[in-house]
Symmetry: C2
Subunit: 228 residues, 2 copies
């Protein structure tokens, strides 16, 4: 499908063995990044890596793995753990994350009977907690609304806008440039990191719609024709 592209930064995914992290790993490899799938257990990471490599032989060469500390050594790092572990996992690798673009994609949600409900963390968002755990990283919130399954179907485009926010405009641009190379996706600059609260919470509504309409939805914003 693609060759590793030496111009593209390597990307480590902490907690990269779940559906979202694993789907993102495949998608990032498909656009030329070398990806380091990380996990608390390097054996679990190896298993996740091998599952992806077997499914998508063309990107096998770009998929590597290790424990979270190994993944945190990549040039860009994604925190893809469940939401309640995101800040702690980031803090454990804080030394490796200083000064780097770090992407928070988790949503704090709970399912009550048939309803998904957002949980508002004390700082407002999971992303804000990750930023507080590693004050020196350049935190960007992104990827919250992309359906995990569709992320991993790298032979198909994803018809979605991707809201990207953060307090470091250069870091937002770096992440937006990655998103713009996902077929079908359009990055949209959603402002400062404070907006992560609303972006994360809105995921509960999308999951609710998935249940109600037996589908997997993704957001598009009408009225923006030519984002610059």
């Amino acid at each position: 499908m693609s060759e590793p592209d030496s111009d593209q930064p390597s990307i480590g995914i902490l907690g990269g063995t779940g559906p979202a992290g694993s789907g993102l790993a495949a998608r990032l490899a498909s656009i030329g990044h070398t990806v380091v799938i990380g996990s608390r257990s390097k054996y679990k990471a190896l298993e996740a890596r091998d599952v992806l490599a077997e499914r998508w032989p063309d990107i096998a060469e770009q998929l590597t793995c290790g424990d979270n500390a190994t993944a945190a050594r990549a040039e860009i790092v994604v925190i893809a753990t469940p939401w309640d572990g995101a800040a702690a996992v980031a803090q454990e690798s804080a030394d490796h994350l200083e000064g780097k673009v770090v992407i928070s994609m988790a949503n704090a949600l709970v399912r009550v009977n048939k309803e998904f409900q957002p949980l508002v963390p004390p700082r407002g968002s999971v992303a804000a907690h990750v930023q507080a755990a590693v004050p020196g990283c350049r935190l960007v919130a992104a990827f919250h609304h992309l359906p995990a399954t569709e992320l991993g179907h790298i032979d198909q485009p994803i018809d979605s806008d991707v809201l990207v926010c953060g307090d470091d405009p250069d870091a937002v641009r770096v992440v937006s440039a990655i998103v713009s190379r996902f077929p079908g996706c359009r990055p949209l600059d959603a402002g400062e990191l404070s907006n992560a609260m609303a972006i994360e919470a809105f995921t509960a509504v999308l999951l609710q719609l998935n249940v109600r309409y037996k589908t997997r939805v993704a957001p598009r914003l009408t009225g923006i024709n030519d984002p610059s």
Copy 2:
């Protein structure tokens, strides 16, 4: 443009003189409802009514006005005040709202420098506060993401999905049926009233995008082809 349709319920709009309430009044009249524009001041309501009637002579006959208590006597009632007055205004007219479909459309937001930020009210959403103020009404949260200006341009469709949520499924269906008659709009059932929190908060992101891209956005959800 249209005749008053005696099959359509009358709709009162408390706080109907602002941009969103006024735009909604025109839009509802354009699909055949008789609309009662309400305000604390019946004179302010009259002014808003006359401005609309002059701009859109074809719907003048369907636009009436009065104080909020008068508007609250309509068959369906919309709370369109600024967010921090919504629960209090609903409570003032509680006697008229018992058992009725009541629509909350306000978003709790604050602008800090160039950024819009959501405020999370103590009960999670403005809608939850309105429901608590009038426990006997059938509260539905809707219309949050429709740009006020576009609502009022009744000669043009609005290209948007409209998220509708509430704890009374029949009330949600009543509101969804109204939305489905707005040209270009598609109602989507977003579940219980608890989801109003995320829907209201997400409005901050949409306003942020409006500023960033110098436009007015509205949401569409991909992946739902044939909502039923």
